[in-house]
């Protein structure tokens, strides 16, 4: 206990005397960096998940073709989750003599749990066709009906009109502009209406055998939703399934997962930087405590006593610094959130406590891992040092000491990455980098030093200094190199990631699909596009067919009774198209694309659907198209990038096989929101064509990508800050030695300018070395991580070498010269007396 009190006292004294500044700063920046990234990433992740759930109307859906048993809703309520339900079914709506097949959604109070229904402001329809939109306050009242644009147009409705829905008569009160729905897309492209579930019985539409989808909507805290999911999964019958946003929308799933990985990568980079800063700061700490330990040994302290003193000392230091770091991190992300609130119009949910715990743990592990071994070596400082100052610690001790730190760092990586693969790649990469950098550094320093006789004045001294401090120089170059490498890699991947998103979903990505275009409408439609200066989109022919045979054997929906998803696909008609070209967002993963002009009965299938309906390369599939049979052999399997929102097909055949079957055409195009009225004109002119508006979905995905990109850039700022901490620690590490050196040089008559030139040369060489290391490492590691973990097409960038080396030189040079200013300006005698 006495040791503990004494170590606290020592800690307090060292802190007061400013001995801990560098170490403390490194630790605090490290921990606050990690905590900020952690807190922020956590909040952004929660927000993104919630944001994307608005497309679903809930955090989770339980969907069934039969009424859902009460137990689902009961369990959700028991877990404190918000619950609502809806029933979806197709039905005719009639206004006098006109009828329209509409998808009707009967909703209950609370719908939607996430997102909002947006209604047209009837009073404020301005002449440009751009309509004012307001958020719905609740759901349709019993006896009323909300309809979408298509219903309004086709049935020529006005507010207050009465329509027949089954046996009920309902009053049209609102026009729906946007609504959350998981199945916006091809499946549900028809007109839509919303009614109150209380009117359902009156309509008399729900009967045995009706095509009805019963849905339970669930929303609440992520943990509770997950608990509900875990509970519900084993309860699901064949007719029931669950859908979260990630199940429903693959493009959002991909974006979310990548951003999560990237944010954890950013957090990892700050861990690397923190480790480098701490390792450097500890070096200085041990140097400065050598004397103290020798004196304590001569005053009778035993090795054990020193061991405990420093053990407690560092545990206390770690806990205090990490706590400050966590607090700082929390405040920083709070400020960040406030600042961002102007840009991100989503309220960020409160973060959970995990990042704080992580920060604390990371701080302690890093400090103990990197600081304890060298500091514990202090206990073996020969007491004779009190008489002979030249006796110190051997370097083998400190190099072995870093091993524990590296091991601790590796474990942290794997833990922080939450992804064994990512963690292992990075650990492997950094260990390899340290070994290679270390050896390379040693060789380069030897090589450079041997050149020093050819070099001019300042360079000669610079090279001599580096050579003399070989171990310290290599350590500095490796630590700085690693830090810079982490930052460069992050920059590279960040750019690639954001570019990749923007190219897959550019601002002019098609936001409308036209379906059911007849052959004789192609020309008039092209004229229409030309007239309205809309870029001519490509028209894809489409033939509908039902899958009937695989390899000559009959296929029935019942064969897929164990898989609801597959069963639905078999029941439904497939859209087949023909083409000689492989679209840019398609990639053949098995087999090969046919030679243009082939007359063989070949077929190309998308890999996901192939898996679902259980067919493979070489199988012969048969479709029933308008009563006749069409068979073809699968000669290739394609991977389709669905993120692009372009027209894509599950099944493609070569031209010349399907032309005799009745075909319609499909296309997609982009209309800016301010020219939305052109779509209305199009609908009026070609009433049979179905217009599918995906602008909302695209807008939401684009907004999300924008937010993630911004979040990533902000998080990067913190990594940068951690980088400065490394630089500072690196400069402070040799500060004492430099002050002493300066005093001797100046006592010997060196001018300040001569000295600062010699140092500048040394810093430039050191910075150049670290820049070189960083560029090499970042190129290699960026390639591996980009390619294998984030699945990006990594582009090799020669600029990285220029940027890396020049950043290294400039950074170290500036920091070095700033850091040594005081050493140059203090009178030599004062310095010599202080040191002596």
């Amino acid at each position: 206990m006495n040791h503990f009190k004494l170590s606290l006292r020592m800690l307090h004294r060292d802190w007061r005397a400013g001995e801990l500044n560098v170490l403390l700063l490194a630790l605090i920046i490290a921990v606050s960096g990690i905590a900020t990234v952690g807190f922020f990433a956590d909040r952004v992740e929660l927000a993104l998940a919630r944001e994307s759930n608005q497309l679903l109307g809930a955090d989770l859906l339980v969907i069934s073709s039969q009424p859902l048993p009460e137990q689902y809703a009961d369990e959700a309520k028991r877990l404190g989750l918000a619950v609502s339900s809806l029933i979806k079914f197709p039905s005719m709506i009639s206004n006098g003599d006109s009828n329209l097949l509409t998808e009707i959604k009967a909703v209950t109070a609370g719908y939607p749990l996430r997102g909002r229904i947006h209604l047209a402001n009837q009073s404020a329809q301005n002449p440009t066709g751009r309509e004012e939109v307001r958020e719905a306050d609740g759901i349709p009242l019993p006896g009323t009906l909300w309809v979408d644009e298509k219903v309004v147009m086709r049935l020529d409705l006005n507010s207050g009109d009465k329509v027949d829905v089954g046996t009920a008569q309902l009053t049209v009160t609102e026009r729906v502009m946007r609504e959350p729905d998981h199945s916006v897309g091809f499946v549900n492209m028809g007109p839509r209406a919303i009614i109150n579930a209380a009117d359902l019985e009156k309509t008399g539409l729900i009967q045995e055998g009706s095509r009805v989808s019963y849905q339970l909507l669930v929303a609440g805290g992520a943990e509770m939703v997950q608990r509900f999911r875990d509970w519900a999964k084993p309860q699901l019958t064949k007719a029931q399934r669950m859908e979260g946003i990630r199940d429903a929308r693959p493009e959002i799933k991909a974006a979310l997962e990548r951003s999560e990985k990237f944010l954890s990568l950013a957090a990892l980079a700050s861990v690397v930087l923190a480790a480098a800063a701490i390792a450097l700061a500890v070096r200085r700490f041990t140097q400065r405590h050598l004397d103290g330990c020798a004196v304590m040994r001569s005053l009778g302290a035993s090795q054990r006593q020193l061991l405990y003193l420093y053990l407690y000392y560092f545990i206390a230091l770690g806990v205090i610094a990490s706590s400050i770091g966590c607090l700082a991190g929390f405040s920083a992300q709070q400020i960040l959130t406030q600042w961002l609130s102007g840009i991100i119009d989503t309220e960020l949910p409160w973060p959970n406590a995990l990042p704080a715990l992580q920060g604390l743990l990371v701080g302690l592990v890093l400090l103990l891992g990197f600081a304890l071994p060298p500091v514990l070596n202090l206990r073996s400082v020969p007491a004779l040092r009190v008489l002979r100052r030249d006796i110190g610690l051997s370097n083998t001790h400190s190099i072995a000491g870093y091993l524990l730190g590296l091991a601790a760092l590796s474990l942290l990586f794997i833990w922080k990455a939450q992804d064994l693969k990512l963690g292992l790649y990075i650990v492997g990469g950094f260990i390899a980098a340290i070994v290679v950098f270390g050896c390379l550094g040693w060789l380069l320093i030897r090589l450079l030093a041997s050149l020093r006789h050819q070099a001019g004045g300042a360079w000669r001294y610079g090279l001599a200094s580096i050579r003399r401090r070989a171990v310290a120089s290599i350590l500095q170059a490796v630590a700085l190199g690693l830090g810079l490498m982490a930052m460069l890699m992050l920059t590279l991947i960040q750019d690639d990631l954001i570019d990749d998103w923007h190219t897959s979903l550019p601002p002019d990505a098609p936001n409308h699909f036209l379906v059911n275009i007849q052959a004789d409408q192609i020309q008039p439609l092209q004229d229409f596009f030309q007239q309205h200066e809309i870029e001519q989109p490509r028209m894809y022919p489409m033939v509908r067919g039902r899958l009937t045979k695989i390899n000559g054997k009959d296929v029935a929906a019942e064969d897929y009774a164990d898989d609801l998803h597959a069963e639905r696909h078999i029941r439904r008609e497939f859209n087949l198209t023909w083409s000689d070209e492989l679209a840019a967002d398609n990639e053949v993963v098995q087999g090969r694309w046919w030679n243009p002009g082939t007359h063989e009965a070949e077929l190309s299938i998308e890999e996901g659907i192939a898996k679902i309906i259980r067919v493979k390369l070489g199988d012969v599939v048969t479709y029933d198209i308008a009563g006749s049979h069409f068979s073809a052999k699968i000669t290739n399997v394609r991977k389709v990038d669905w993120d692009t929102f372009r027209v894509n097909f599950f099944v493609i055949v070569p031209p010349g096989l399907l032309e005799n079957y009745p075909a319609s055409y499909i296309t997609s195009f982009y209309v800016p929101s301010e020219e939305f009225h052109r779509v209305h004109e199009l609908v009026k002119k070609f009433p049979n064509i179905l217009v599918v508006d995906v602008a909302t979905v695209i807008g939401q995905v684009q907004q999300m990508i924008q937010q993630v990109s911004q979040a990533i850039e902000f998080v990067f700022l913190f990594t940068l800050l951690a980088g400065f901490a490394v630089l500072y620690a690196a400069m402070a590490a040799t500060q004492d030695e430099r002050i002493y050196e300066a005093a001797i040089f100046r006592a010997l008559g060196a001018r300040r300018e001569q000295l600062s030139r010699a140092w500048a040369a040394e810093f430039a060489i050191l910075g150049g070395l670290s820049g070189l290391f960083a560029s090499a490492g970042a190129s290699a590691l960026g390639y591996v991580v980009g390619k294998h973990v984030l699945h990006l097409d990594y582009t090799f960038d020669p600029w990285i070498w220029v940027v890396g080396v020049s950043t290294g030189v400039a950074g170290v040079l500036i920091a070095g010269l700033l850091g040594t200013r005081s050493a140059l300006s203090s009178p030599p005698l004062l310095t010599l007396r202080k040191i002596g």
Partner: protein, 228 residues
């Protein structure tokens, strides 16, 4: 200070030798040193630079290991002990005054004096340290850091620290080496006064003949051998 073994020497050596390997040859720094210091004595070890004075002092304190020979300190064969036991013995028996003061820069004057008491877990470290600093004339500078003190003041703090644990034997290595002569005289006066007050035995290493004459006995080293 009373001791039951008044007539036993507090420090004696037996054929103490130290050789170092310079790579090409063995260099004998100390050869066959036999000396004896009795309680209450003040002994000066004198000799030119490189005569082995500091090496001898290091061996006497058990800070370094001899090539051959023994050192008995307070009746204990110190090289029969392990390093930690030697440290504990030092803490109990020895006080040090160094040429370069060896104050810890992060500690104030009073904290530097408290340190050996704290390491020995003595309860009244604060009051003892204060009393000693007042005794060496630094009552007003208790909370100054070493760098805020002059050389002479720093050495006074070091002397106060040396006497803090009431050692039986005080080892001083060129205590005036880093001081101007006037300050050096004051420091020496102070050291001898405290030595008398505490009944401490003193072993002093110096190349200053005048200083050595203030001791009751002089031992001269030349080329690693005792001359007289």
């Amino acid at each position: 200070m009373s001791d039951s073994r008044v007539n036993q020497p507090i420090l004696w050596t037996q054929a103490l030798s130290k050789q170092v390997n310079t790579g090409e040859q063995q260099l004998a720094i100390l050869q066959n040193i036999e000396l004896q210091v009795n309680p209450g004595e003040a002994v000066a070890i004198i000799g030119a630079s490189g005569s082995g004075k500091s090496t001898l002092l290091g061996l006497l304190a058990g800070l370094d290991l001899p090539t051959t020979g023994k050192v008995h300190l307070d009746g204990v064969d110190i090289f029969a002990l392990d390093e930690d036991s030697r440290a504990a013995l030092r803490g109990r028996v020895l006080g040090f005054v160094f040429q370069s003061f060896q104050l810890l820069p992060a500690l104030t004057a009073i904290e530097n004096v408290m340190l050996p008491l704290e390491l020995a877990a003595t309860g009244d470290a604060g009051p003892t340290a204060r009393r000693l600093l007042e005794r060496v004339g630094l009552g007003k500078r208790l909370h100054h850091y070493p760098k805020q003190l002059s050389g002479g003041e720093q050495q006074r703090v070091a002397i106060a620290r040396a006497f803090a644990t009431a050692p039986k034997l005080l080892l001083a290595d060129e205590p005036t080496g880093n001081l101007d002569s006037a300050t050096g005289v004051q420091i020496i006066e102070l050291m001898f006064e405290l030595n008398r007050e505490h009944g401490t035995t003193l072993v002093l290493v110096t190349h200053d003949e005048a200083l050595s004459r203030r001791c009751s006995r002089q031992i001269r080293l030349a080329d690693g051998k005792l001359v007289q």
